[in-house]
Symmetry: C2
Subunit: 563 residues, 2 copies
Amino acid sequence: MASRRYAVGVDFGTESGRAVLVDVADGREVATATYEYSHGVIDEFLPLGERKVRLAPDWALQDPDDYIRTFRSTVPAVLRQSGVDPASVIGVGIDFTACTMLPVLADGTPLCRLDEFRASPHAWVKLWKHHAAQPEADRINEAAERLGQPWLPRYGGKISSEWFFSKALQILDEAPEIYAAADRLIEAADWVVWQLTGHETRNSCTAGYKAIWSKQDGFPESDYFAALDPRLRNIVDEKMSRQIASVGERAGDLSAQAAGWTGLRAGTAVAVANVDAHVSVPAATVTEPGRMVAVMGTSICHLVLGPSSREVEGMCGVVEDGIIPGLFGYEAGQSAVGDIFGWFVDHGVPPEYHALAARQDLDIHALLEQEAAKLAPGESGLLALDWWNGNRSILVDVDLTGLILGMTLATRAPDIYRALIEATAFGTRLIVDSFNAAGVAVNEIVACGGLAQRNELLMQIYADATGLEIPVAASSQTPALGSAMFGAVAAGRLAGGYDSIVDAAHKMARLADVRYRPDPDRARVYDQLYAEYRTLHDYFGRGANDVMKRLKGIRTDALGAGG
Amino acid sequence: MASRRYAVGVDFGTESGRAVLVDVADGREVATATYEYSHGVIDEFLPLGERKVRLAPDWALQDPDDYIRTFRSTVPAVLRQSGVDPASVIGVGIDFTACTMLPVLADGTPLCRLDEFRASPHAWVKLWKHHAAQPEADRINEAAERLGQPWLPRYGGKISSEWFFSKALQILDEAPEIYAAADRLIEAADWVVWQLTGHETRNSCTAGYKAIWSKQDGFPESDYFAALDPRLRNIVDEKMSRQIASVGERAGDLSAQAAGWTGLRAGTAVAVANVDAHVSVPAATVTEPGRMVAVMGTSICHLVLGPSSREVEGMCGVVEDGIIPGLFGYEAGQSAVGDIFGWFVDHGVPPEYHALAARQDLDIHALLEQEAAKLAPGESGLLALDWWNGNRSILVDVDLTGLILGMTLATRAPDIYRALIEATAFGTRLIVDSFNAAGVAVNEIVACGGLAQRNELLMQIYADATGLEIPVAASSQTPALGSAMFGAVAAGRLAGGYDSIVDAAHKMARLADVRYRPDPDRARVYDQLYAEYRTLHDYFGRGANDVMKRLKGIRTDALGAGG
C-alpha cells in the first residue's frame, strides 16, 4: 500500500469549515472533519467581549482567525481518523464562499487583528451575504451604464452588492482610514491559500466572477474606477494584483508554519483557491460543455462550460478559465430555492401537518413531500413565481417578489408545497432555455448539494419539468472533494496526482446510481404549466406590470411613515 | 302596559331556525330562541334510518319537517321567555335562505313525506347551496343567450346553478316521475308561509332574484322554457303561479293548526315571505336609495335601492319591489369573504400563532387581527385577489381563483391575513364603483352580519379602502328583526303595527353607536393599492390572461387521468 496517495480538500462554508481526505486513485472519501466557526456569522455585535460594537442591518462579517482554526482543527483530525501518513498526502486544495473579502497588511495580517482597528467593523471579513453595500452597487452599475463599460454584459447587465468592488467601495465610503491602512484587499479564498503558502496569489474564479476581471481584458480601466471615486482610481494596482492564476495551477508549497497547523508535511503542493460552487463542477464529473451542474441548496447555482464566450441573458458571469482551464465557465442562479421551502414550512404550514409529521416520525419536509407526491402534475391547480428573494437569473432583479395563483377553499399545504417546488423547477428550465437560446448547449443537468441528495420528489419534478435527465453526483460534499481534486492536480502526475483537472475528474469523481428521467406524460403537463409560468414571468418581470416594485415602494413609504 | 304590541320574526338559516320576539314600538328584541334542524344539511345520506341512500357530490338537501319543528320549538319558547300575552303579538314574518325549493302536492304536502317518494333524493328540499344543477344552469344560460332573452342583463348576464329553474330542470332531467308528481314547485320561504296561513302565496323577492320574474314582464315566455325541454314549456302555469305578492303585503291569517304549533292566536297577521339578506335591509335602517347594505359573513351580499332599473355590471339581480315596495332592489355579492379568512386560519397559519393565541387566551382570528392591526396599509408588501370561491360580482365567473403576490422570505401570517382582508375590501369597493358608474348611487355602506359585529380591524379597513363611512346595524340578528318588522307591517297601523316597512324601519331599526370613518392618510395608500388591484382584476378577470381557467382545465384533466 506504499503507493497510495491522498489529497486534502478544505471547504470554507458560511457557518463552518470542513476537511476531507480523499484517495487520489479513485476519489474515495476516507475521512471528514468539520469545525464550527467560533464566531460564526457576525451580524449583531463584533466579538469583543465586554465591549459592544453593534452592526447595522444587512451586515454579515466573519473572523479570519476562524479560518486558521479550521485548518488547525480539521486537517489533523482527518489524518488522525484515517491513520494516513502525512507523507502520502500529496496536495491540498481549498474552496470558499465568495465574494468574502478582507483588508490586510502587506504581510497578510488582517486589519481586524490590530488593536487600533479591532473595534472597526470595516476591518473584519465581509461575508458573501453582507448586503450593506447596495448603494455602492447602485453607483457601480449606474457608472458602468453611463460610461458604456464593455464588461457589463458578461455579468447579465448588473453587478451585485455582494461582489468585490461594492464591498471595497463601502469601506472607502464609510471607513476611509481602513481603506488607507489596507495594503491589500483580498478574497478570503486567496487569503487562506496565502496563509498556507506564505505568499499571495489570486485565483481566476473569484477574480472573474466577483471582481470584473477577464483573461482577455483584465480589470476595468482606471478611469472607470476614478469615476466612482477619485481615490479608487488605482485600486487594482494599490490594493490588489493583476497577476491572476488560473484554477488548476499550483499556488505554492505548504509553509513550515502551515505544516505545524495541519500536521501535513512542509512542501506539500497547495492549489490555487477556488469557490465552493465552481469547484463542485469537476467533482460532479463535469469537465466539458453540454452538461449543466446545479448546486442545489438554499439557492441554486447553475454552472455550464462552453468553448467560447456568449452573451446569455441574465447570467451571473462568464469567465475564461473560471471553472475548468481552457473553457469558458458560465454561472447563473436562482436566489432562493430551499429557502422558499424553508419559509413555507416555518410560516405557512398549519399545525395539522406538523402533528401528522410527528406521528409518522418524519421531518416536516419529508411529510409534505410524501403528501405532495400523491398529487399529479397540475392537480394542485396552483402556479407560483419563485421570486421570494428576487430573481437572479434571468431577470437580474432583486425587487421582484413571490406569487401564488389558483387558490380555492380546497387548497391545502401539500398543494402549495408542490407548487413551490414546481415554480423553482420552472425557474431552472428558464435558465436552461436561456443558455440554449444563446448557443451554450445544455443537454443534461448534473445535480449536487443538499436538495439533490435528500429530496426525491423535487428531483423527479425537476426532470419532468425540464424534460432533461438529471444524474446526481455521488459525493455529498462535492466542494471539499473538488478541492481535494485540485490539490491532486497541484501536486501533478509525477507526484502521484494528475496533470489536469480533467484527468482528476475521470478518476476521482463519480455519479450516484440514481438518475432522474423525465416521464413523458408528466412532462407534457409541465409543458403546459411552464407556458403559463413564462407568461406570468414576462408579465410581472419584464415591465408589463411592475406591481411588485410599486408594492415595495409603497411598503418603504409605509415603513418610513411609521418609523 | 296594555298597549304594548309585539311581532315575531322567524329566520330560517342553513343549520338552524331562529325566532325573535320584538317590541313593535321600538324594535327592542325581547326574546330569542333557536332550533338546530334535526337533520341539518343533508349531503351524504337521506335520513332514512337503516336504509342507505347516498347522495352524489355537490348535493345539499333539507327536511321540510325541520321547518315545522322550528315553528313548534322557537315561537312557544320566545312567548314563554318573555311572558308576553299571545294576544299582544300582532304579526309574524319569516325569512329564508334562497333559492331553497321543494316539490309538493296541491295541498302543500312535500313529496318527500310520501312513502313512495321518500327514498328519492329529488323529492326533498334542495337547499340554496345544492350545486349539482350546474349542467342545467349551463343550458339555461346557453339558451338565454342564443334566444336573446331580454331578462339576462338583469342578472349580470348569468343565471346561477343555485337558482330556481336550474334546480327544477335538474328534477325533470334526473327524476321525471318526481317532476310529474309535483303539483307545485315552490320556494321553502313561500312553503312555510303556506303552512302558517293554509294557502299558497309567492313573494316578489325570491320570484325576482331567483326565478327570473319581474313585475313588468313576469316570467320568461313559454317558448324559452320549451327550448330548454318541451316538458318545461308550461312550468309556470303547471307548477308555479303568476300571482306574485310584493314583500310588505299580508299573506293571510295564522291558521288554527299553526296557532297550535306556535302558541300564537289564530288570525294573527302573517307577512309575505322574504329572504334573509334582503329582509336585513330595513332592519339595518335602509329604506331609501344611496345607502348600500352589506350583509357580511362567510360571503358578502350587497343590497342597494334605486328609483329605477339600471344595468349594473356584474350584479346578481335587480327586482322591482324586491326589497322595499316601490323601489328597485339591486343585489350584488362576493362569493367568499369570511370563508377566505376561515380557510387561511385553518390551512395557512403556522403553529407559532396558534400557540400565541392560546397563551393570550384569544381566538386565532382575534390574535391575527391584533397582529395585523400593527401593520400600516401597504406595509405587508402584499396584494391579493379575493377569488377563492370564484368571483360573483362584478365578473360573474366561478372559474376564477385566488392570488397572492408580493411574498418575500420575511412575509409572515399576519401580513397575509391583512392582505386577504384588504382584497375583500377592494372587492367591495369595485362593486360600489360599479353601482356608481351605472348611476345607482352608493354614498355609504351600512354593515350587518357576523363580520361587522366582531371584526373591528376589518371594518376599519373597509372604510379606509372604500373611502366611505360605514355605520353598523345595532341588531346582531337583522334577518329575524327584519322579519318581525314585516310582521308588524302585515298587521297594519290600525292593529298597532305600521302601514309600510318605511314607517316600521323608522321606529324599529337602529344603528349601533360605532361608525367606521375613513382615515385620509390610510385611504390615500389604499387608493394606490386599489389601482393595483384593479389592474390585476382586469388582467386575470377579463380575458387578457385566462391562466386561472386553464389551470382549472389542467386540474380537471389531471384528476381524470388519475381517476
